[in-house]
Amino acid sequence: MQVKPDPATTVTYDVGQHRAFLSTRERGRKVLHDLEDHIPPGTSLLVINFADVEAMTVSFTDEFLRKYYSTLATQDDGPTSVLVTGLNNDTRETIVIAFERRELLAQERLGDDLVLLAASDVLSDTFKLARMLGTFTATTVAEQLGISAPNANNRLKRLVAARALVRRRGVAERGGKEFTYSALEA
């Protein structure tokens, strides 16, 4: 079963409230600080909305969104799930360029679907399976994809780092600790 976003703890941040054309690294730093100031503790879902952004440079995107996702990848606190939305072809490509260099990825809400940006085919396939499964363990993913458990764990780790999946610690059937993973409901 997929995780349903809780409206009470969902925060939407409109990047285009600042400007429709975003160019400098300095602006990127300001938007990043503003975003961080708008995320209260306990946020379950952060929606970063680019609907009012016409275009942005790679330098701005690197300083803002790339740095935000880099920070997310190295810490456990912060929003449980994060997604970007409202992208046009140009802003989408700009994010891909900025993220590919750092091997980062982001979850995008595209219509009624959730997809990955800047991800390899392998990770995209894993993400699709995860969304189909809803809530699952790494063992299930390994079995369904015919890969080793460590390989499945590595893939899921990257999806969790991008806040595209939620990881919870549980107890395995035969005892011991086991993580369960859940995908977000679109």
Partner: protein, 253 residues
């Protein structure tokens, strides 16, 4: 001595460069003279594009300067303007609106990303107390038969003169430094150095028919043809410039 008497054609690059050179010379304590173009149309264009107005406070203007009633053409040009860290976003946004309106959404957005990076570079890596100068013009193609958008920014900062090379572990200078900078330098591993190399990618997107990028820094010049299979030529020139000059032409459908 800014001798513009023989000018027959002026693009945003020459306009921004004239003002930048004059401003740097004045800041160095040198006397500045502008010899006005003999062609009255060119002289009028220099006035229209703010060149005379920006030089006047510190330069002798030698020659006949036509007076003119100015019409608002902000939908197709940007007069020469000083770019600073304070106003760079306003200028970027003005140009972004211009290219989006006149080139269409896809081509306009791609053009914005290119000029936005160049303006941003001019106020960071290229920052100096004399500032940078920019100008832009949209061409209908009535005369040249090649409609397009031209943009230039000339800064007087440190320039792209020393770029550390991963391959040789040395600092490159002149044309090799410019060539490496065009390809992202060695800062790509840090996630930096996005700006210039991505101009290649952007210029061929959005229905653009490609374009050209010219970079001049110190005694080096690079000209890049922005096409699906881009090419670039880097060479040395006799007359060095202060800082970096960038000129971008985007061809449009």
């Amino acid at each position: 001595m800014l001798d513009a008497r023989g000018l027959q054609w002026v693009s945003p690059l020459e306009l921004a460069a004239i003002v930048s050179m004059g401003t740097v010379a004045a800041a160095d304590g040198r006397d500045v003279h502008l010899l006005v173009p003999q062609d009255p149309k060119i002289a009028s264009y220099l006035v229209r594009m703010n060149v005379v107005e920006l030089l006047k406070p510190f330069a002798e203007i030698d020659g006949s300067v036509p007076s003119q009633g100015r019409r608002d053409h902000s939908d197709k040009l940007l007069e020469v303007a000083k770019v600073t860290p304070t106003n760079v976003e306003d200028i970027s946004e003005t140009l972004g609106e211009l290219v989006r309106t006149r080139l269409g959404a896809d081509a306009g957005r791609a053009a914005f990303r290119s000029l936005g990076e160049l303006l941003s570079n001019a106020t960071t890596h290229g920052f100096s107390k004399t500032g940078a100068f920019t100008a832009a013009q949209l061409y209908s193609g009535a005369l040249s038969r090649t409609p397009g958008f031209e943009f230039a920014v000339c800064d007087s900062g440190a320039g792209i003169q020393k770029v550390p090379s991963d391959a040789s572990n040395q600092e490159l200078e002149g044309p090799p430094a410019l060539e490496l900078a065009l390809n992202g330098g060695n800062r790509r591993a840090e996630g930096r150095g996005h700006g210039l190399p991505n101009l290649w990618r952007q210029a061929i997107r959005g229905g653009n028919k490609g374009g050209e990028l010219m970079l001049r820094s110190g005694d080096a010049v690079a000209t890049a043809k922005l096409r699906p299979e881009p090419t670039s030529i880097c060479s040395r020139v006799a007359e060095p410039v202060n800082g970096t000059w960038a000129w971008l032409r985007v061809r449009v459908p």
